[in-house]
Symmetry: C2
Subunit: 332 residues, 2 copies
Amino acid sequence: MVIDSNFYMSLALNEAWRYQGLTYPNPAVGALVLDRNGQILSIAAHKEANCAHAELLAVKEALLKLNPTLIFPKDPNRLHKFIIDNHNNLLKDSTIFVTLEPCNHQGKTPPCSKLLSSIKPKRVYIGSLEKNNIASGGAEYLKKEGIEVVSGVLKKECDLLIEPFLSWREGHFSFIKVAMSANGVLDGGVISSKESRELVHALRDKITTLAIGGNSVRIDRPTLDARMIYGRAPEVFIYSRQKEFDKNIALFGVKNRKVTISSNWDEFKSSNFGMIEAGVNLFNNCPSFTKWLLLFKSSKFKIGKTIQATKDYKLVWQGRNSEDSFGWYVKE
Amino acid sequence: MVIDSNFYMSLALNEAWRYQGLTYPNPAVGALVLDRNGQILSIAAHKEANCAHAELLAVKEALLKLNPTLIFPKDPNRLHKFIIDNHNNLLKDSTIFVTLEPCNHQGKTPPCSKLLSSIKPKRVYIGSLEKNNIASGGAEYLKKEGIEVVSGVLKKECDLLIEPFLSWREGHFSFIKVAMSANGVLDGGVISSKESRELVHALRDKITTLAIGGNSVRIDRPTLDARMIYGRAPEVFIYSRQKEFDKNIALFGVKNRKVTISSNWDEFKSSNFGMIEAGVNLFNNCPSFTKWLLLFKSSKFKIGKTIQATKDYKLVWQGRNSEDSFGWYVKE
């Protein structure tokens, strides 16, 4: 195995993918810090909007590795300032990898470009460049500060990571979520692990609208909230030609929730961030504008219904979630 | 993410798993070298019997990283001696991670314990310890040479990696191989990628006996050789109550091949290393002594037959093979 800039960028990428979707409306970003001698000090990802950017977290963890007695403020704004004032040149001549060009503007947090230049790294490797956006210019800023910048490392892979973000910015991103047993069975009780279901609840907490099939609503009578992580319940889009539903079904009882019952996917598309929780039937009726699939696979074999369909997806990333495997796929 | 000895051992483990089965009759082993400052110099795995052990390869690649002008001999014996004579203390005070205790005896290659002690690392981290075997004693040897040894890093994971090896040593190891589409379909033409099929051929080149169902033989009329990698064809065990087969079927035409037709799995168990290439029917008839499963999953959805069975496997490792995912599972 070759240990080069691609290797380090792939470690940052891998960490970022774990939080795909959860960073809404921000992009998923990963970062890695090597000390002046090339030792890995930290690998970190942006986890949630209003929380520290990947660069800020990675720099914090790198400093903590070098000086475990440091006590950092939690608030990202204060953390940013604290690091600028207290880094003590510990990260001078370090090397930083970041999957997306560091932001160069004051948003909810101060510009990462300023943070990075303050610690005086020797070199910053960047995957994707920010384009046509208020946040762009980070690479130029770093160069002007005398820091060597190498852009386009694993560019294709890093570009793919921020596709959902670019789609949000343009108005709509949605994906299909399917959970199946190792042999492809979707029904017959709980399929995925507690950790996988918690991830789905964390996604529900972030999305604008959750789409579900009318039959699933009638049979499973679900709540479709984010109770496992004490999160916010999303709006619900019930895909159904038949408009009549028993309003005692739990999902209708969630406070301040908008529920749309429709067989017109354009109404779903008006949401900024949608997740289609598909069973066997809905999978075949998913809208063509939804190109992404999040597939949870348990490691058990079960007896039951499987999806029977011909669709060409491409696996773009896979990870582990306790005993489950889960992967992001994009339609070819 | 915490960057500690577990992190580095997991990188070595991950590399080793890619060669699971292919190292027969040797154990799968991975190794990683950090320079004196903690920079990763190399990650390597044992790939095949009669080839360099993981430690030897990792040390070679580490030296090459530090001195790209070095030209190494290919033969592992000569490589071993060359490194002892030419390392120039480049790896003095390095840190080495190895998933299995370095061998301490002259086998087909000289002892890795001797190689490692000659380069004078500061510390060697070991996952599993070799027990009751001619090769054991490597950790003790290193300690006597004044090298710090830390054993038991990710011990459980490293022990699992060598389970097939321990079973070979005791007489028999076998696993089921299944290839399915993303939605669990097994039939209807080629399922997995060229790279996945090459891996299966590479495994066929290593195993003693390939087991297949009688119906598959009658319908698919397969050759069951290792032509994609120009390898050796294994013996074949046809699981069938019906003993009559058309001898013009390609598999019977492979020279010097033993073919057994039987419905008694004990005959299959007499082989040292067996792979059961299972379709929908054979999967349900697999012998209970076969605990391991190698599952290839394509990223396409197809229409066709799926396995309908209840079995509790646990995912122990997963990787990518071009567009496919593949994973090793163990029955719970």
